[in-house]
């Protein structure tokens, strides 16, 4: 079987840090999609976790019938404080839940939303799963790489933008889709994507196409940890494609049957 193995060159394929688009693109738009991530960065030892953080971590643990269930939201809270999963954050979770650091680390490294290196103020995710990719997600992602001069899972030097190509985010009727701090940006083009990141870097407020004004990545992580930010009422109920079928039904006066007048046997219908 050895003839099947294509040796992976260290760069651009398989390079953990990613490369700018011009290098990473291997032939007409295809790029390396997955690679081994490095383990936790133990280089930085300082931590922003305070007694107040520990108190909130304990609060999360107390919400569940069994405390360990709180681990995922607790790690979200760690990220909201630290900007990534840190060794200190892992220790804190482990101590509260009476687990080993290895247990917690094993969980933290399983899920893609937990980041092992510092994330910028804005996490920009471009969907490059099949449907978004072919409808333009590849072009959006490539343009952003070139525009920002960073590769996958890398952060701009000003600490503003972390770029990542992400998997399907359940918005395929709005393809190509981009997420900024996990808010939807629908029907993205290379041009509006670069415009958006420029605005973010310039400190201009940016609004989701059907959500809220974009908060920082750390603030988003805090909401995911279960601490609401009181902004659920921002944004519309639904837009565009979400309403298409409903609008057509309204135009034609189509509706579900009237419960008072049900035909007994659907098989005998029209």
């Amino acid at each position: 079987m050895s003839e099947l193995i294509e040796p992976q060159p260290p760069s651009p394929n398989g390079h953990a840090g990613g490369d700018v688009a011009s290098e990473e693109l291997v032939g007409h738009g295809h790029f390396v999609t997955h690679f081994d991530e490095p383990s936790l960065d133990y280089g930085l030892s300082e931590t922003k976790i305070t007694e107040a953080t520990l108190e909130e971590l304990r609060l999360i643990a107390a919400r569940y019938p069994q405390a360990r269930s709180a681990l995922l939201p607790m790690l979200h809270l760690v990220q909201s404080v630290e900007g990534r999963v840190t060794p200190a954050g892992i220790e804190a979770c482990a101590e509260i839940l009476e687990l080993t650091a290895a247990d917690v680390s094993g969980v933290a490294t399983f899920y893609t939303m937990y980041k092992r290196r510092p994330v910028g103020e804005y996490h920009v995710g471009v969907c490059t799963t099949a449907l978004c990719a072919i409808m333009g997600g590849d072009e959006v992602y490539a343009r952003l790489q070139d525009h920002l001069g960073i590769g996958n899972d890398e952060t701009t030097e000003d600490g503003k933008i972390t770029l990542e190509h992400i998997e399907c985010n359940a918005a395929c009727d709005f393809a190509p889709v981009m997420m900024i701090n996990w808010e939807f940006f629908d029907n993205t083009t290379p041009d509006n994507a670069t415009q958006l990141v420029d605005q973010l870097r310039a400190g201009v407020p940016v609004h989701s196409t059907r959500g809220a004004r974009v908060c920082t990545w750390k603030e988003a992580e805090r909401v995911l940890a279960g601490f609401p930010d009181g902004r659920a009422d921002e944004g519309p109920t639904a837009v565009g494609p979400s309403l298409l079928g409903l609008r057509i039904a309204q135009q034609h006066d189509w509706a579900a049957p009237d419960p008072e007048h049900i035909q007994d046997r659907p098989g005998e219908e029209g």
């Binding site: 193995i5 072009e139 998997e167 808010e183 989701s208 309403l243 035909q263």
Partner: protein, 439 residues
Amino acid sequence: MTDPLTPVLTANWADERAWKLTNYERRGGYDALRAALQMEPAEVVAVVKESGLRGRGGAGFPTGMKWSFIPQDNPKPKYLVVNADESEPGTCKDIPLMMASPHTLVEGVIISAYAIRANTAFIYVRGEVLHVVRRLQQAVREAYSAGYAGNNVLGTGYDLEIIVHAGAGAYICGEETALLDSLEGRRGQPRLRPPFPAVAGLYACPTVINNVESIASVPSIIANGADWFSSMGTEKSKGMTIYSLSGHVTRPGQFEAPLGVTLRQLLDLAGGIREGHQLKFWTPGGSSTPMLTDAHLDVPLDYEAIAGVKSMLGTKALQCFDDTTSVVRVVLRWTEFYKHESCGKCTPCREGTWWLVQILKRMEAGRGEPGDIEKLLDLCDNILGRSFCALGDGATSPITSAIQYFRDEFEAAMHTPAWELFPYERSTIFVREPAGAGA
């Protein structure tokens, strides 16, 4: 005769601030809960059983029957877990539902938890949808304030805690037993069955796990009756459901219709495939369901008819690809998805998806080698049915079905790169070709 479209779950999506409790109640929201609380839990189960509701998350298992598997003589606590981890490529119905009308789900949660006598319910929502999490958190708080949840629900003596739990990015957690492990604070890896979750699920206690749309359908069934629900749909696939049309269609979007509508009917409503192009292939229910072609436009989109053409209704995620699309490229991307999302627990899936990607990558580049098609099929044969969970099976679906319908393209991959056969910019929605240039 039932109308072609039947908005029930989507009926209030155009309402101003439909996510607010007062606006939901104005449309009769939580009346079904009041009605359910007047019934015995077993009666609620019976009504849902009688309605014929089947799981809307992919497998199509009868919801009421799933509920009836909960052993009520078991002294352990019972749990309801809503699978809101919508991640199957192409699937995009639960997210807009929870964004627009989270109370439809929350009311369904309370009725369903009451039916199975659970005092704790979880909504496990994928973490990558921040605003949906906000709306769910707020809806649950509103439900508590109104007395619909918490201690002594509406004065009946029934207690229910509802916990909104955000995941952290892992497709595998849509698999119900992996979801349970994740909800227990572990790596999301599937469990061996039996025991089934109904017997030993969350914390080894009896647990029901249902998809968002399944649970959200429950209030309408209680409010309007099992006969009303089963008056829609086909013989064994009852009720209305949300179809998600995406890809190269003129107007993609969500369509709530009785089960059994055809893709041709939905495409007609959506303005057809984008101008100047033809449908090439489509998925009936996400990337894990074998692809179909224009020969299947008139197959009723219900569980039985789609199974009859060797695919699965899945999540009703109708991803349409036109004649500009390289099937090899699309299949590679889906395979890379499965490789990325494989949890690593079992060898056929973990190693197999890796090998599949190696072969498909060189095929995309026109550097396929003699025997590669057979090798792909052989690998698929060694993954399908030999993996721990359905992820491995799903990973083989796009490959085997694509080779079945488009073998020529895989043959061409021995010498010509996909981007030469199908220039990639033509598949994007940015480039508008001059009139008459369609393939």
